[in-house]
Every structure is written in C-alpha cells, then in structure tokens.
C-alpha cells in the first residue's frame, strides 16, 4: 500500500517536472528532482507523454489542502476509483500524497450549491490558504456564470494544453469557453443525445421498427410533426411532455438569450413554441414536467408514448430497465439520430482562481479527462459516455457491443454523429434562468391559461426578477 502510494506520488512529481522542464520560461523547482528516479514507473503515469508539448509554467504547488466544491458524490467516486494516488480517509476527506483533499458537498436544491459557491468564491481573496477553493464543478446551464469571470482559471494555467483536450468533443469545450475564447474547464463525460423510440409502437404505426425507417419518419421537425399526428390516431403520444423536445431546439439556436442586455427569443425557440402548441392542442403530447410521474409513465407499454430524447445515461439508467414490466427491460427501445443533435447533462471541472494547488488540479483534470486509459476504465466501471472521441469511436465500431435496453442495438455511433452537429457558440450567462422561465411560461400558453403574448410577458417578468440588469 505504502509503496503504491509512493510511486503514485513520484509519478505526479514527474509530471510536474516534465511540465516545468519543457516550458518556455523554465524554472525547474528543486523539489521535483526525484523525477529521474521514477522512470520505471512510467506505466503509471501515461499523462506524462502528453504533457511534453506544455508551453506554460505553472507555479509550484504550495497548498496542503485541496478544497473541492460539488453538489453530489459523482465526482468523488470518479476520483476515488480512477485517480492514481487518491486515498480515501472518510466521507469528506482524502489524501493525494501529502495533500489533504476536503470535499464540500452542498445539494443543489433551492440553489443552495450555487449560493454557497458564490459566497466562498467572493471571499476567496481574503480566505486563508487552506480554506480557498481549489477545484469546483459546474453544469452546462450555469457554467458561463462562473467561467466568464476572473474567479475561474483558464485550464492552460493548470498546465492543460490544446493537445491534451484534442480528443474531447467540441461542445464540451464550447460550454466552458469564456468570452475571450479561453478554455476554463474540462469534462470527463460526453452527454450527446439521440431519439429513442418505442419499437412496438413503430411496428404498429409505422410498419417497421428498423432504425433507418424510423429515422425517415423523424428526420426533421416537419416530418416529426406529421408522424405525431399519425401516432395520435393510433392512440400514442408522440412525446410524453412538451418539454422533451425543448433542449433539442435550445441546443441548436443561432442567437443568444441575451443580446446587448436585451432579452432575445431565438427563431428556433419560437419554432419549438409553435410546434408544441399545435401538438398539445392536438393531444399529441402532454404538459407535465420532466421527471414527473406523467413523464415516466411512458417507460411502460401502457404509458403509450412513442419517443423520448435522451443521452446514454437516461436510456441506460433512468428508463426503469431494472423493472421487468418496463419497455427497457424487454429491450423494446430503438435509437435514431432524430431531427437535430443535442446534449443533456454533464459535469465540468473548473479551477478556482487563487488556488495554491494548480499543478494538482491540472493533473486531476488531465488524468480524468485526457488520459485514454483511465477514460476507458471509466466507461467499463461506471458506464459513462466519456469525453474522448477515439475511445468512443472504438466502442462504436465494436459489433459485439450492444445495448440491451435498445434491443442489442449499438447506438454509440449515433450519439457521436448527433453531437458533432451541436453548435454551442450561442450560450450566454443567462441560460439557466432563461430556459427554466421560458418553459414555465410557455406551459401556461400550452395549457390555454394565457395567450402567447401573455406567456411572453410572464417570461420577461420572471427573467428580469432573476436578472435585474436585463431589459426587454
């Protein structure tokens, strides 16, 4: 045990030494001298090779405590299981070498996670070294709130190069790129989504459950809409709720939610409203919220729902595959690309400005999100769709691999194909608030409690409450 720890330690030191050694403004720290003796450990430090092109010098780590802020246990278990050298002490403490790792986990209910993170980041400058945040996690919807500020370090400052992240999907980089074009976070997950359809319904209504035939019926939004009418006649809802298709539209916008301080409604968002209103009025979809009982009713044959939009994690873990009566358990779903590509979910790792452990943070980023060996380990151990094109392409080409939920279909290729077309250059700091408010407000329109203009008014009101600086 001790020996293993030592070797891991050495490999970390070696990586840092290499980083420093290959930098332009070299100032090799004396502490990293033992790197040379560690060569026999190269197998354990695959990241070392990738670090060779390193161009920036990262100041030597001085921190004795690594503070990590997150909202659930997911990242902790990834780090525990896959980061070489991490030793768990108890539920909220661990060690990496002689650095103590402290987990600050705040649930995201009632915005508690962000409130807590905001306060701590704002106090970062005055905090004692051991209390400073070193690393924190964000989700796509509010990533820019943190990324587009001085409070987040560019990953380059932690020693991550463009070459390191070359294998990552472009959209995962778009999400955390600030307004100056600097990459400020990395993710180990890819969450591209596909359209999953009820095979039984496809056979009954469309006459075939072959992916190619089904894709024909949902290839763009007009055909999608036409198919919805056919489904309705046969007693099926096209989607369970009006919000199912929302993110597919919102991932493919051509303008931002806020342009020059004014709230802006993109044409694609308006298209979602128009299509959904017609579908709701025709009874082709419901108005319940995602994750509600009415939404998940369609996981069972008697729920009579034709399709869902979802990433791999939704299909594999959230569609009740462990319940024998569900469609998933019988392998009754099929996957097609659907009308447009989209993604759903994912967690990004950011480094906090003021960290005294930049090298360690950088190494965590590199090991978990750039090291193909570890990423394949994650695929195998945790079933994540990882953020590594080559790894996922290899899996996609594997004919022996099939997803039981999808009746043995290997849909990884579809995922990769869909996500390649997602263009996230139109993210804004206001996405989380705007997306939530917009769906809420439009629900009133869909249910007939408000006209479109009234619903829009409601949306503007709700957004300006959240962001007083905006106008409309």
């Amino acid at each position: 045990m001790k020996k293993k720890l030592l070797s891991a330690l050495l490999s970390v030191a070696m990586v840092s030494a290499l980083l420093a050694g290959c930098g332009n403004k070299t100032e090799a720290p004396a502490a990293e001298a033992p790197a040379a003796e560690a060569t026999e450990e190269t197998a354990e430090a695959p990241a070392a090779e990738e670090a060779v092109e390193e161009a920036v010098t990262v100041a030597e780590d001085t921190g004795k405590v690594l503070n990590i802020y997150c909202w659930n246990e997911e990242f902790k278990s990834r780090l525990t299981d896959h980061y070489p050298g991490y030793t768990e002490v108890d539920a909220t403490h661990g060690t990496i070498g002689d650095v103590e790792v402290v987990w600050n986990i705040t649930p995201s209910d009632d915005n508690a996670y962000q409130n807590n993170l905001d306060e701590t980041l704002l106090a970062q400058a005055d905090a004692a070294d051991d209390d400073k945040i070193d690393l924190f996690l964000v989700e796509a919807d509010y990533a820019l709130k943190y990324v587009d500020t001085e409070y987040t370090l560019p990953v380059a400052d932690c020693g991550i190069t463009d070459a390191d992240v070359a294998e990552q999907y472009q959209y995962t980089k778009d999400v955390v790129t600030d307004s100056n074009g600097q990459l400020k976070g990395v993710s180990w997950q890819g969450c591209p989504g596909v359209l999953v359809y009820n095979r039984a319904a496809a056979k009954e209504v469309l006459g075939s459950d072959d992916p190619a035939a089904v894709q024909e019926a949902v290839k763009d939004w007009d055909t999608f809409k036409a198919t919805a009418a056919t489904m309705k006649e046969a007693g099926y809802k096209m989607t369970a709720t009006s919000n199912d298709a929302y993110r597919v539209f919102s991932n493919n916008v051509t303008s931002k939610w806020v342009e020059d301080g004014k709230i802006n409604i993109d044409a694609n968002i308006k298209a979602w409203v128009d299509m959904t209103k017609e579908m709701v009025d025709a009874g082709e979809t419901g108005t319940a919220d995602l994750w509600s009982d009415d939404w998940s009713a369609g996981f069972y044959p008697e729920g009579k729902v034709f399709c869902y939009f979802g990433p791999a994690w939704l299909i594999d873990f959230c569609m009740a595959a462990d319940d024998a009566a569900s469609i998933a358990a019988q392998g009754g779903w099929g996957a097609v690309k659907g009308p447009q590509g989209f993604f759903w979910g994912g967690t990004w790792i950011c480094a906090a400005a003021g960290t005294d452990n930049a090298n360690l943070v950088g190494d965590i980023m590199r090991q978990l999100t750039c090291n193909p060996d570890i990423m394949i380990e994650i695929v195998k151990a945790d079933n994540d769709f990882v953020n590594n094109k080559t790894a996922m392409d290899t899996m996609a080409a594997d004919t022996t691999y099939g997803d039981a939920v999808l009746g043995g279909q290997n849909a990884l290729g579809l995922f990769a194909e869909g996500v390649a077309s997602v263009d996230l250059s139109n993210l804004s700091n206001y996405d989380q608030g705007c997306n939530e408010s917009f769906q809420q407000a439009m629900k009133e329109y869909f249910e007939g409690n408000a006209t479109y203009d009234e619903a829009l008014e409601l949306f503007y009101k709700s957004v300006t409450e959240k962001y007083p600086e905006l106008t409309y």
Binding site: W71, N72, E73, E74, S77, D90, A91, T92, W103, N104, I105, T106, P107, S108, D109, D110, A112, N115, N116, E119, A123, D293, S296, A297, F299, Y300, W313, L314, F317, C318, A320, D322, D323, A325, S326, D382, N383
Partner: protein
C-alpha cells in the same frame, strides 16, 4: 362541511345523533391525517423502478433492501439522525425555557420598559423570516459560526411567537396570587420561576416543545446554508442530497426510506410530549 351539520344539530338533535356525527367527522379526519404515513410506509417498501410506475396501496418487498442501501450508502444517515436530535432537541429546550422566562418577566413583574418591550417583541414577530435569513447567514459568517451546530441552536432562544404564546397562556393560567404566595413562603424569584411557575406551564411548554422540535427537525433552509461538513449535516440536507444524487445513485426507494427514518423519531418525541397535552397533567394546580 362538518360545520353546517354542527350548527343545525345543535338545538334539536339528541346526544346519540351528535355522537354519531362527531365520530364520523373524527374518523374521516383520522383517515386524512394518517393516510400520508401509510403511503410513505408503502413507498419505502418499494424499489426505485416500482416507484416510477406511480401509486399503489399495497406494500412491496424492498423495505430491507432500501434500508440497507441507505445505512450503507454514501450519506451518513446515522450521524444525520444524531445531529438532527442535537439541534432540534437543544433548540426546543432552550427556546421554550427562555421564551417562558421572558413571558414570565413581562407577566409577573412591573417595570418601566415593560410595555415597550412587549410591543417590541410583538412587532418582531411580524417580520418575515425569509429576507432576514440571508442577512442572518452573512452575520453567521462574520462572527465565524459557519459550519457549526451552534449557529442552528442558539438563535432559537429568541422565538417571539413562542414568547407570545407563553404570555397569552400565562394570562389565562398563571394568576399573580401564586407568585405572591410563593414570595410570602420565602421562595426566591429564581426558585419561584423554576419550581412553581414552570410546572404550571407544563401543557404550554409541552405544546411549544413539540412545535419547536418539529420545526427544527424539518428545517432545510438554514442548515443548508450554514452546514458544510458531512459529519454535521442534519437529516433534511441528507435527504435533499439523496434526491439530487447523480443518475447512477438516484434511488427514490432510498429517499422514501430516509423520509420514513426521519419521521419515526419525531413521532416518538411527539407521542412522549403529547401525553402532557392529552392527559392534562397540570389542570389541578391552577385552582386557587
């Protein structure tokens, strides 16, 4: 609906009919009150997949699995139970004791600032807790009490609503004569309060103890903003964490079992204290 029946039967109907009506209403209310506990219990015996399928009245077989998952899962439920007990228990005791003491000061003594202080505390009661809560968090951070259970317990001492209740109760149940009598017997003010007045207040104290205990036991808002360390977290935070767990660990069965686990102790505490209210221990001492 029960009111009309009540009014109309008042004069004419015999005692038997009134008894029937009261039983019907009581049984209906009992059903409405206990139904939720039944569903919670049923839900905690069901697996995540079964819960996804919606509602049922029949228990399933996953109670032990769910329980086992929660106890050996990533959330320290047992230490959460302990913390919740410390916070809710101490808050309830301190709150009722000091609020009674304050009400006693206003009720028994006559001093210059009395009226002003009484009005002041009443005015305080009307302040919405919501906005001052954020100012409260700032304050806690400035005085370095963040991430401590103390920050959850000590502020409970100043509870205007409890004070007001105690004051109103004393008006109807604690005659000045009793205090006078104690003085004549040579009892010190401190002793009079603790050994003579407090016992008379037993029903009121039990009532407010329950209310404060339950409020603090179920409170999520303040602890979520103050507590950060895993070993100091109270149950509502842990349950919220289970609910926001990542998709691999998300398990509604565990959520319901934790809710059931968190309700059981409150029921026990409630049943212990409710004896005082129901049995009316203190009625006798008021006579005189």
């Amino acid at each position: 609906m029960p009111n009309e029946e009540y009014n109309s039967v008042e004069g004419g109907l015999g005692i038997a009919a009134r008894r029937v009506i009261s039983y019907v209403v009581l049984i209906l209310l009992t059903f409405l009150c206990l139904f939720w506990f039944y569903i919670l219990f049923i839900n905690s015996t069901r697996s995540h997949a079964e819960l996804n399928r919606g509602f049922t009245l029949l228990p399933s077989s996953h109670l032990m699995t769910n329980l086992d998952n929660v106890l050996h899962g990533s959330q320290p439920i047992l230490s959460g139970l302990k913390n919740s007990f410390i916070v809710a228990g101490l808050a309830a005791v301190l709150c009722t004791y000091f609020s009674t003491m304050t009400a006693y000061a206003i009720h028994v003594y006559d001093f210059k600032a009395k009226k002003a202080i009484f009005t002041f505390i009443l005015a305080v009661m009307m302040i919405p807790t919501q906005v001052t809560a954020l100012g409260f968090i700032r304050l806690i951070n400035t005085i370095k009490l963040q991430d401590t259970l103390i920050a959850l317990i000590v502020p409970a001492i100043a509870a205007p609503a409890t004070f007001y209740y105690m004051h109103q109760y004393m008006e109807s149940a604690l005659p000045h004569a009793i205090v006078e009598a104690a003085r004549i017997d040579g009892s010190s003010e401190w002793r009079t309060f603790n050994t003579i007045s407090l016992p008379i207040m037993k029903p009121a104290i039990a009532v407010q103890m329950i209310f404060t205990f339950v409020f603090n036991w179920n409170n999520y808002f303040t602890p979520a903003l103050i507590i950060k360390s895993e070993n100091k977290k109270t149950l509502p935070i842990l349950i919220a964490q289970l609910r926001s767990a990542d998709f691999l660990k998300f398990d509604m069965g565990q959520v319901y079992v934790s809710i059931a686990l968190s309700i059981a102790p409150v029921i026990v505490v409630y049943l212990c204290l409710s004896r005082y209210i129901v049995a009316g221990v203190a009625v006798g001492s008021v006579k005189g």
